[in-house]
Symmetry: C2
Subunit: 205 residues, 2 copies
Amino acid sequence: MTSDTESRPAAARRGRPGYDQAAVLDVAVAAFNEYGYDATSIAVLAERLGISKSAIYHHFSSKDALLETALDRALSALEGVLVSSDAAAVSAADRLELVLRGAVHVLVDELPYVTLLLRVRGNTDVERRALARRRAFDRSVTELVGRARDEGSLRADIDVRVVERLLFGMINSIVEWYRPGGPEDADQLASDVVAVALDGLRQRA
Amino acid sequence: MTSDTESRPAAARRGRPGYDQAAVLDVAVAAFNEYGYDATSIAVLAERLGISKSAIYHHFSSKDALLETALDRALSALEGVLVSSDAAAVSAADRLELVLRGAVHVLVDELPYVTLLLRVRGNTDVERRALARRRAFDRSVTELVGRARDEGSLRADIDVRVVERLLFGMINSIVEWYRPGGPEDADQLASDVVAVALDGLRQRA
């Protein structure tokens, strides 16, 4: 995704040749995930990229700005799933299925960015804003589970808040073992999640 | 569980009055979870407990021995679920349901110990042995999912390894939000997990 900078028009690039904003961000997110955000300095990033610190500051005003851009990418992708499911489906149950499938795709497509998001603990203003957006997303999904239950599509004996947590606990756990290029592609993985969560593993009579 | 040391016979205690081995372990596990294993020294534990370092060494020969005992507690409880499900149930599907319910109960009953286990990354021999036992547990559950599928109880279109990961991804995520004394008790939580995972959320026609 970021290795084909050669094919982009030169005018679209900022900073030193070969390192546009997206490439700096990819390297930063990989380092944050490997060493932790606090332990990763701009100097370490500059060394990894083989560029100067000021070349990084050309793209991002601070380490916090890097983090904010990275977290926004994961959150915007997840929020986009809610928006597009709203446009596509009629029943709440169908929307919920689209949201679960879409979230699996976001996780696979933006694996390092979602991994970073899931590690945020709220230590800074940037992290607290990201957590607030994640909570708003969770609330929207919880409401959707409630509507699907109220329309009679989902069983009535469930606590919608607990179920939302279990569903996203399951989906988020994928970051711990999924590796791109493995035997399981995103479509199959999304189908497995729906099989477990909505249809149930038990064979129907 | 550890605050009622007063009611135990004095002969059962080791070390200074009020701090038996279990109490030292509880405090150590809480500190490991809060600050990380590497960042927690025996000196920090001694300060937290208000006892000397040698009083801790009276119970545990090293920090590694503390970690090993703590991880063994979580792993033994999980392995016990497999053993007791084997004795209780006939079909593989019934066994799987017992394992899922039992694992939720272990998680609730041994929350700090399971939390510690789930953070192990394999940096030391003790951690690597714990990871090997966890993998053996996961393999046993994966085999059980496979047998339940082969006996016709579970749908045939699933990847048993992915399903096992999704099931325990969901169960393990409970450590991130479950707090003892909350509105959801362990039985209800176990039923919610089974509702999501085995029966499926969708209302059956």
